[in-house]
Symmetry: C2
Subunit: 504 residues, 2 copies
């Protein structure tokens, strides 16, 4: 059996871990075990479920020093970033504890029997129930917040679903250590055994998507891998929902008015945002629309200046760095592209920031596919537009994205149509701020039309991300004792109920 | 060009209509036109959208006499049934008018900028926006309520989406007449031209699913057709959500306690439910679990007696009747099946009710696939179980369904596990009532796990059916003038808002 290997991308050192790639029969056993306790877990009181999530947050924080150490070794990300990410991860578990206690996610609705214009209606009561065991595919770029203890795991547990997690090969030791923290908290809380599972290896991932005991999938990764797994999920005898967060070029528009007022500030801000975490953010601004001439030139000069002053950076893995090199070369090969900042890549995982510039004729042209796709890493393409109609045509040609940022002054007459176009093209419309931060909150949307996700109605961050793991069931003419507690007239759980059409 | 033909299934008579099968370029033009006015329609005030839906209801009622006539000729359904269905259809438009004015469907949420344990959070506001033009595939079995003026159309318009409808070939004249009613109401209300489109023919349906201007699909029909179109939707360069209501065998369990008390009443009730509308209901109870021996025998005797007394019935089309014949033969061919009621089918569209009986050994056996699938029409299979554990094993083997009915007495100790299993296996759990009626209400769920639908989180009836046509967008740090009205602090629309986590 193939042992799982942990690699240090900064030094190239590697070590065998005390686990092996998970076999198909082991995947089968974990999925069946998850399925066997799904109903029991779903029946536990909401208050217990909320306390389990808080216990997981506590345990992650208790183990923070050692978790950050192991993640630093595997990701080459700096300590403050990883400490912040772990804080966010714990915060996210507590947030979902609040979401569970709030109870609105159940969408409880009671219609008492009545006569209507279409005839008599029986007693009908609807609530959302857990969808069943969820497979979670951890991401490369966030070893905590979008991996084993990430948002998919927290939201699925909050929904009442057991989880089986596929560890990302870029950080297996971090995956193991964070998994142990979750298991420890679950055991201490008396959770049913089988609530949490962890698997390693490409084949195990495929087996997981195909396992009949798995009811839904959460995935964060590339378009290619996501599309392949999504197709596997659709090809099952019983297809299941696949929620994939894929690729996003995240357009950012600097209007003439903003360039006139804040050229250098915006340029420097873009540089910070596009290199945050070595540009390994799904929300990295990758397509920058800047007016031609002055003061657009000043935006680019400021941006390029900051990028040139940055030293080399270490990417998460050799594979990711190689992919970044390929993406860089593909963009450089497009006729009419200027390579403003960049240069030779140095070593297996070491890279420097890359900046390209094109005009809209090239960007809108037939050979520009490489300019339209996400290139994961510290790279951006500046698209220089001549005037407003030129900008509009170029923007209508961009692929939908997770985010769409617009920098403009308050009196800018183009802001309304830009905001409307941004809404059509993305899941998050941002004014005068950079898109990289993704706050965990009630109102966050982290998802957009294809290819940024497989399902534009879903989000993988924020309260709404629990929606992915629920399905509604209506109970018709049931005696009170047989009803789910959330649907009883006396509402002992105190959850929000819509009663005869009126929301409480 | 092929003219569209309207057929009378009772007489076999046919007539050419004054329309032809829609060409691919005509589909393209209708979809593009829908797309071109999508943003304008979405911008109209909610109150206007609600009044449009009410005007459509009024217009359908104004034209009721002629609409019922044309539908009778094409479907052979009796006048009272069609009058009732049209009442329901108008009711549904008015119901969605209420849903629009209620505003909860927008899920407006406002988080003001704040400091959190994970750091500062910007101003974030989330609302659901229309997904874009929706293609609606009308059903065969409900010429009004699940066709051109059906739930998919009403809910998509309520969500703010233009629609292009594929007429079902079983009732093209009804499709035309109802479409004209909707267009007339839309024109009178000043709706943008292109809000409604209608296409005919198999190829037009395929072109519609593949059209880049279409953003989502609603479908009601068979597993085979639904799965094929769903795969087309997934194979697009830009895949889109496909909401298909497919096949459902709708299990119904009679417990020993219920058989003891109400054998004949239940048997007669099943007979009525399974032959309602010539058994052409997606919610027809098709799998009947009845205890072996007495008084289970009495349930079957009562049911069979009513069915034998029924005269021949006319199905909706020759194709549907032929398919019913094939399904009947496939079930009869299963070794160990008793054919209790039935006999030769008479004429191209004339059928008689069919009743089969098996024991659980046959039902659970390896050659019983035909017993597990929906057979569309007045047919049911009685599965006789020996005891509770025998029943449980058989039920665990049934395919998920739209509905799952349980008949039991109040003191029946098996009711709790039956209800729990019913919830796992369906979208609507029914106690001591028949599943055929599907009320339009806030709490209705008409959808269940595969193969009953392509998406168990969706419903095609009730307030929740609007959810299919919406996607969330978050606005970060936008000035008030640029925000959607539903997200303004002063809430001029008076819609429900969650503000800083607290629902108003």
């Amino acid at each position: 059996m193939t042992l799982v290997v942990s690699r240090n991308p900064a030094t190239g050192a590697s070590r065998d871990l005390d686990v092996h790639d998970t076999s198909s029969s082991e995947v089968r056993a974990l999925s069946k075990r998850a399925s066997s306790i799904a109903a029991e877990f779903a029946r536990r009181p909401l208050a217990w479920r909320a306390s389990l999530l808080r216990a997981m947050a506590d345990e992650l924080e208790r183990r923070a020093p050692s978790l950050v150490e192991v993640a630093m070794e595997e990701t080459a990300l700096p300590r403050p970033r990883l400490e912040g990410e772990l804080r966010r991860t714990a915060f996210q578990f507590r947030f979902f504890s609040d979401v569970v206690l709030d109870g609105a996610f159940l969408q409880a609705s009671i219609d008492h029997a009545t006569d209507s214009a279409m005839g008599p209606l029986p007693d009908l009561r609807r609530v959302r129930v857990p969808i069943g065991p969820v497979a979670v595919f951890g991401s490369s770029n966030f070893p905590f917040a979008f991996s084993v203890p990430g948002g998919d795991s927290a939201s699925a547990l909050a929904a009442g679903c057991p989880i089986v997690i596929k560890a990302h090969p870029a950080h297996p030791a971090t995956s193991l250590a964070t998994f142990e923290a979750l298991v420890s908290a679950a055991n201490a809380a008396g959770a049913p055994e089988g609530l949490l599972g962890l698997v390693f290896g490409l084949e195990a991932g495929v087996a997981l998507v195909q396992d009949p005991a798995i009811s839904a999938i959460g995935f964060t990764g590339s378009v290619a891998a996501g599309r392949a797994l999504w197709q596997l999920a659709n090809a099952r005898a019983t297809p299941i929902p696949f929620f994939g967060e894929l690729g996003s070029a995240n357009p950012l528009v600097v209007t003439q008015s903003a360039a006139n007022e804040r050229a250098s500030e915006i340029g420097a801000g873009i540089a910070g945002s596009m290199t945050l975490g070595v540009g390994q953010f799904c929300t990295k601004p990758g397509l920058l629309f800047v007016p031609a001439g002055n003061p657009g030139d000043e935006v680019v000069t400021s941006l390029a200046g900051v990028l040139r002053d940055l030293s080399g950076m270490t990417m998460l893995s050799e594979g990711i760095a190689a992919h970044f090199g390929e993406g860089t070369n593909a963009i450089a090969a497009v006729q009419g592209v200027s390579h403003l900042v960049g240069g030779a890549l140095d070593g297996a995982t070491q890279v420097v920031a890359q900046l390209f510039e094109v005009d809209t004729d090239v960007f809108n042209g037939p050979f520009a596919a490489a300019l339209h796709e996400e290139c994961f890493g510290p790279l951006a393409i500046v698209v220089r537009y001549r005037n407003v109609s030129d900008l509009r045509v170029a923007l209508e040609g961009v692929q939908p994205a997770l985010t769409f940022s617009v920098f403009s002054e308050d009196n800018d007459p183009d802001a309304p149509w830009l905001i409307e176009l941004a809404q059509e093209k993305s899941g998050r419309v941002i004014a005068n701020q950079f898109p990289t931060g993704v706050g965990v909150s009630w109102s966050m949307q982290h998802g957009g039309p294809w290819p940024s996700t497989t399902n534009s109605a879903a989000t993988s961050v924020g309260a709404g991300s629990i929606d992915r793991w629920l399905r509604p069931v209506t109970y018709q003419a049931l005696r009170a004792e047989l009803l789910p507690t959330a649907l009883r007239d006396d509402n002992p759980l105190g959850v929000p109920q819509r009663v005869d059409g009126v929301q409480s």
